[in-house]
């Protein structure tokens, strides 16, 4: 089973819930994996302190042009939808950071003057945290495109395991890539106008993708109490409400797993997992 934690708005508690749930489940079950798919800003390792087994360099193909063969016909530049190839003067130039690695220029060059080389865009850290597997993608600073890295992170998930996926914020390509193929998405929000606005966008995204989801209202007692009703009116299912707790927030700020110091919170995570299981099977 694959469960993702997403939100629309950043800073609502995705990582807190994902890391704690993975840790709580790993203590009682085998076959749990924590997957950090927020590759622009991966924070899971701060809380789960994994024992690292391997760091994999992630590469994507980008074109290189053999100037000896290139006759400057310009087909590569014409077919490139991302403006990553251009004929400038008497030279075909490649702009690596714009390239989506689609291979169009490589396949379509009539002179066979284009080959591909592998370019590093980030890393995937593999290890263990307690009894759980730990897999985290990290985009190199300066790289623009996170979806290929997220795709590769997700390729490493084995189907027999229960994967807890920490998704990036937002509602566009990186999140779509992170939640694709998930059995359930937990949308973490807070009861504020910003939280509600972004929750609706994220919910719309999941409806479009036909993925089951439910809402956790974090810091449920801070903010506007009428928002809960509005979430329900929009047809979203509220799975759990977690009130603000200064101790939880302090644990978070210090990079401490709250479930290790607060048994009530640990029980909430177990309960949330049970609710998700029911939703996946019957909801």
């Amino acid at each position: 089973m694959r469960i993702a934690f997403a939100s629309g708005k950043g800073g609502t508690g995705k990582t807190t819930l994902a890391t704690n749930m993975a840790a709580v489940l790993a203590a009682v079950e085998t076959g749990i994996s924590y997957i950090d798919a927020d590759v622009e800003e991966p924070n899971g390792q701060i809380f789960l302190s994994p024992v690292v087994r391997d760091i994999i360099d992630v590469k994507v193909p980008v074109p290189i042009i053999d100037e000896g063969r290139c006759n400057l016909c310009g087909i590569c530049a014409d077919v490139c939808h991302y403006n990553a190839v251009a004929i400038l003067g008497k030279k075909a130039m490649v702009f690596d950071s714009l390239c989506h690695s689609c291979g169009a220029c490589f396949v379509l060059c009539p002179e066979k003057a284009i080959s591909e080389r592998q370019r590093s865009i980030g890393t995937i850290t593999c290890g263990r945290t307690g009894k759980a597997d730990f897999i985290a993608g990290c985009l190199s600073v300066g790289e623009a495109l996170s979806p290929p890295l997220i795709r590769m992170v997700k390729n490493m998930i084995s189907d027999e395991r229960t994967a807890i996926i920490d998704a990036p914020p937002g509602t566009s390509c990186p999140v779509v890539e992170a939640v694709k193929g998930c059995d359930f998405v937990v949308l973490v929000t807070e009861p504020t106008p910003f939280g509600l606005n972004d929750l609706e966008l994220a919910f719309g995204m999941l409806e479009e993708m036909h993925i089951k989801c439910g809402v956790v209202i974090n810091r449920s007692d801070l903010g506007d109490p009428s928002i809960k009703k509005r979430i329900e009116e929009k047809g979203m299912k509220i799975l759990m409400e977690i009130p603000f707790c200064r101790k939880t927030a302090e644990a978070y700020s210090n990079g401490v797993l709250n479930s290790r110091i607060d048994p009530v919170f640990a029980d909430m995570m177990k309960r949330l997992y049970e609710i998700i299981g029911q939703e996946v099977n019957h909801g």
């Binding site: 950043g10 622009e40 939808h81 989506h100 999140v175 993708m209 210090n254």
Partner: protein, 308 residues
């Protein structure tokens, strides 16, 4: 004219609330919401939409089933896994192909290679953008269509329009509410801007994310300042941020204390300055003053921008 971008790496540190307050401090400015994935600034700035425009920059492959001979070349060559092979029960034809629009990145390789010419590239409306006015000046904001790509292109478009209107309206500054992260939309929001204000908070996650943003700012040679929000929440980490900033040579422009006024203002749809405690009002005023001074520096300096 100077472009100031407010970013954070980590989400939820208070970017949008602070932008709302800075817009008011600036008195006359052009505001831009570049967090097009999850735009919120319009909820804080009372505005009137003058014009809405469609944004379309992506396209998606479509296979005309009747023209397709089922050779499978498209499926073989597509690197995004966007072509699915279906079994058609009616004709018991095994090689029927369809495009998954959520996976298609619009590269057009399948369109070019298809020997049957059975593939077309269809434009996709990927969002809307709005030209609005507030009492402080022009306001540009956008809304990316649900599950759409190309947020970077929408950001670039919003910033170009913002520069045009700021010029026309004689605004000295453009204040940009940036997206979280360090990827494509952040890079598009930052490229060529004059000043980066990083809003962080004293938590290990926020510090980690801020450090990555500072690395990015260095690659862009951006003049940078830091604001620590909720600084009283974890004084130890707050001091660590100050130490980090000192070694990096980045000024701490202000420290804000944890204040319920942030949430109250949001619920009321008001500027945080209407609800802020006296300490934070003073701190924000100081932050704006410092930014203004830095920008003037930049404009007067014969060598132009200098690094962080």
């Amino acid at each position: 004219m100077a472009e100031i971008i407010v970013a954070s790496g980590k989400g939820g540190t208070g970017k949008t609330s602070l932008v709302g307050a800075l817009v008011r401090m600036a008195k006359k400015t052009t505001a831009v919401d570049c967090d097009v994935d999850a735009a919120n600034l319009h909820l804080l700035l009372s505005h009137e939409i003058v014009r809405s425009n469609e944004f379309s920059s992506s396209r998606c492959a479509e296979i005309v089933d009747t023209d397709c001979s089922g050779c499978g070349l498209c499926e073989e060559l597509c690197r995004f896994g966007a072509i699915e092979r279906l079994y058609d029960e009616e004709s018991s034809r095994e090689n029927r192909f369809v495009v998954d629009p959520l996976s298609c990145e619009g590269c057009g390789l399948c369109f070019h290679v298809c020997p049957d010419r059975a593939i077309t590239m269809q434009p996709v409306i990927s969002g809307q953008w709005f030209e609005s006015v507030t009492e402080f000046g022009p306001f540009l904001h956008g809304r990316l269509g649900i599950a759409q790509a190309n947020s970077g292109k929408l950001v670039t478009l919003l910033r170009r329009k913002a520069r045009e209107v700021a010029e026309l309206q004689k605004c000295r500054t453009i204040i940009i509410d940036g997206p979280p992260g360090i990827g494509c939309p952040v890079i598009a929001s930052m490229t060529g801007a004059d000043y980066l204000l990083i809003v962080t908070e004293p938590s290990k996650s926020a510090v980690h994310d801020m450090e990555r943003l500072v690395m990015l700012a260095r690659q862009f040679n951006m003049k940078t300042g830091i604001c620590i929000n909720k600084c009283d929440f974890n004084p130890t980490i707050s001091r660590n941020i100050e130490a980090f900033a000192f070694t990096e040579g980045i000024p701490i422009l202000g420290k804000l204390i944890f204040d319920r006024g942030f949430v109250d203002a949001q619920i009321a749809g008001e500027s945080y300055l209407d609800r802020a405690c006296a300490e934070n009002t003073q701190a924000i005023s100081h932050i704006w003053q410092e930014i203004e001074n830095s920008i003037i520096d930049t404009q007067q300096s014969p060598t132009g921008k200098f690094s962080v």
